[in-house]
Amino acid sequence: MSLDKFFEEATGLLGSRWVLLSDWQRYPYSRDYWPILVYKELSGGRASLPSGVVLPGSEGEVVELLELAGRHGVQIVAYGGGSGVLGGAVPDKNWVVMDLSRLDWIDWYDEESGIVDVGAGVYLKTLEEWLNKQGKTLRHFPQSFPEAVIGGLISTRSIGQYSTGYGGIEDLVRGLNVAVPSVGLVRIKPSPRRSVLLPLEQMFIGGEGLYGVITRAYLSAYDLPECSEKVGWISASFKNSLGNARSIVRRRIPPDLFRVYDEKESPLHFGVDGSVSIGVVEGECNVVEAKIEGIGKIVNADPWEGAELADKWLSKRFNVISDLWKLYELGMGFETIEISVPWGSAYDLYDSSMKSLGKLDRVFFTGVHASHFYQSGVALYYTIAYSLENIGDTYNSIWDTLMGEVSKHSASISHHHGVGRMRAKYLEAEYGPSGTELLSKLKNCLDPTSILRDKFFGGKS
């Protein structure tokens, strides 16, 4: 490996302005938003810095940098918004970070078809604002909306708060350009749907930069809805709420944004006992009204009456810092873990996991809400507050406990945060040994010299 040669040639390619080597330039890339590293930093610890950072200004430069890296035996990690919560973008000491923020174009590919052509480094917020000015929207609002970029969202198979109505990022991607180490730039043209062997664009959605670097995306935009109505209601228990939610989804009238809180989170967020459900129903006004009427019949309540509950949540939905800061001042840390589970075992998993997590030392609070719904199941989102004392042990025991429950109930280890470093050791619980081997072989085929790192397989991290 020759890092010096790599940087020398990278400087020749990009110019010195876009090759960052000093400490203050590299420091921001020392971590993403993985809580274990955030708390380490707050306690005065220093994460290892990457050996350098390169910022390509074009797709061609991404390909050339991968070629350079292969020639000099350098490992590269692609960096988007840095909002991942599992360490997927955290570099090792000798790695080079490829920051894609200069790939920041936005333009229509085909305005009539509502397909927008965006660079991988475009901030989701910037894109949404651009679309809104033209009466369009992606309606993709993950918690990381203010800080996430398109390439990162696709790489981690992101989903947003309006998923029940508008789907996940995989439903928005119509085509992709990806720089693949063994192939070069793969251009997958946008299409409404295709049946042409493996749908290549889907191969890289959720690939976390292991198989290639996404450089460009063609995304579907929606028209802004005519009506957007908030609703809410309170049920006696989370079990009842989940049952109602299942009926609403099965009847195909769910709110586009739909969230159901358990008896622990409802008092915390809304100051009420029981289990709160909130939603936003969007579309043509008469359809919206009809849907809300249908929902009311299922939940046996007037959903319009709980609109202020939805309002309350919407007003601070991107503000995580207030709660985190309060907890931190009390010496507590915060973790969120999301999984998905078929309806048949959803409540059993919830009940069993709450009991298991409740037995852990130094865990003070566990609450759950469901925020993504499907015909066949639901995503459960755990919020866990724990003592920052012995954080490493506590953190690992939380994860091992919940992933153990997930495995026991045939649930999926991740719904939308991805694998990163933290979930690597649970990979076999999802795909089994043969599935994991297939992923590993795909990796070896597309990136034979492991330019894009190989730490995700076999729990090596």
Binding site: Y27, G82, S101, Y123, I321
Partner: protein
């Protein structure tokens, strides 16, 4: 102000809700300038990593991050303190300092007379001499609207940046540069081809429309409006002049370069002039109109 360490720690906990609001980061792609990262770096600087200092000069102090932050966290202020730059937070302290450092006789206006009487102007840093209030009061203003009570009359002292803050818009007894401009007929100075209006980043957003409306009434409607940081402040243009140009170009990217730019920020004016724009502040317009 809040203890810098607490301010910076809060940002370490945050994924960066403000990053797309930071004009320095969005224009330059230098991730160290994004406020949450700048805070992390500033903490390391506080802990003794002096090699981190260059990053501290990436902040223009535009306050965009403060406005975007749900906690109203003032990274810009903490960074300013770490840079060793004095930030005077109380009106009294400002007035005391400014009085001690005032320069004589640059611009004289009378708040109680309808007609403006400009005695002389010298350019550069200027003092405002408010006369005809019984006592000639000499005060220099540096950016934050000190309010003085002179002989029972309250004055807001404003330069270009804050000339049109709510107080100066609403208080009829205060002399606003707009009143002066109107009386001098300054509209004619901008010609018939229109102008670009630059509203600086620090302008209180709730009064944006009033400010634009007030200026439009006096100078005519602008051809385009640019809001945000032109990188004039915080020492950035001195430490990172090339980046300052990048930021200014980014902020002005959708404007017509052939049009004069009327700005409320004298630092922005200077940077824009270096980039070839014909740029004027309200006080420049007053000066020019008075001399004609």
């Amino acid at each position: 102000m809040t203890e810098p360490r607490n301010v910076l720690n809060m940002c370490v906990l945050c994924p960066g809700i403000c990053v797309t609001e930071c004009p320095v980061y969005m224009a330059t792609h230098i991730r160290a300038s994004a406020p949450n990262n700048l805070a992390r770096i500033a903490l390391k600087f506080m802990e003794g990593s002096k090699d981190m200092e260059d990053a501290l000069w990436l902040c223009t102090g535009c306050r965009s991050c403060e406005y975007a932050c749900p906690m109203g966290n003032k990274v810009w202020e903490a960074v300013r303190v770490l840079r060793g730059q004095e930030y005077i937070s109380s009106t009294e302290a400002r007035v005391e300092r400014l009085t001690n450092n005032s320069k004589p006789g640059l611009l004289v206006v009378s708040p109680s007379k309808p007609n403006v009487n400009i005695v002389k102007t010298l350019g550069g840093d200027y003092s405002l001499y408010w006369v005809d209030s019984g006592v000639i009061s000499e005060t220099y203003w540096s950016g934050r609207n000190p309010i003085l009570n002179l002989n029972g009359i309250e004055f807001i002292l404003a330069d270009d940046m804050d000339a049109l803050t709510p107080l100066s818009l609403s208080e009829k007894r205060l002399v606003s540069p707009l009143k002066i401009l109107k009386s001098l007929g300054a509209k004619r100075l901008l010609g018939d081809n229109g102008y670009t209006l630059h509203i600086p980043c620090k302008t209180p957003r709730e009064y944006r429309d009033d400010i634009i409306g007030g200026i439009s009434q006096v100078l005519g409607s602008p051809e385009s409006i640019v809001e945000g940081c032109v990188a004039g402040g915080g020492g950035l243009p001195v430490k990172h002049p090339d980046l300052a140009r990048e930021i200014a170009m980014y902020t002005m990217r959708n404007t017509n370069p052939g049009r004069p730019v009327v700005t409320l920020c004298s630092n922005a004016k200077m940077l824009l002039r270096k980039l070839g724009y014909q740029s004027l502040t309200l006080l420049d317009l007053i000066e020019e109109a008075a001399q004609r």
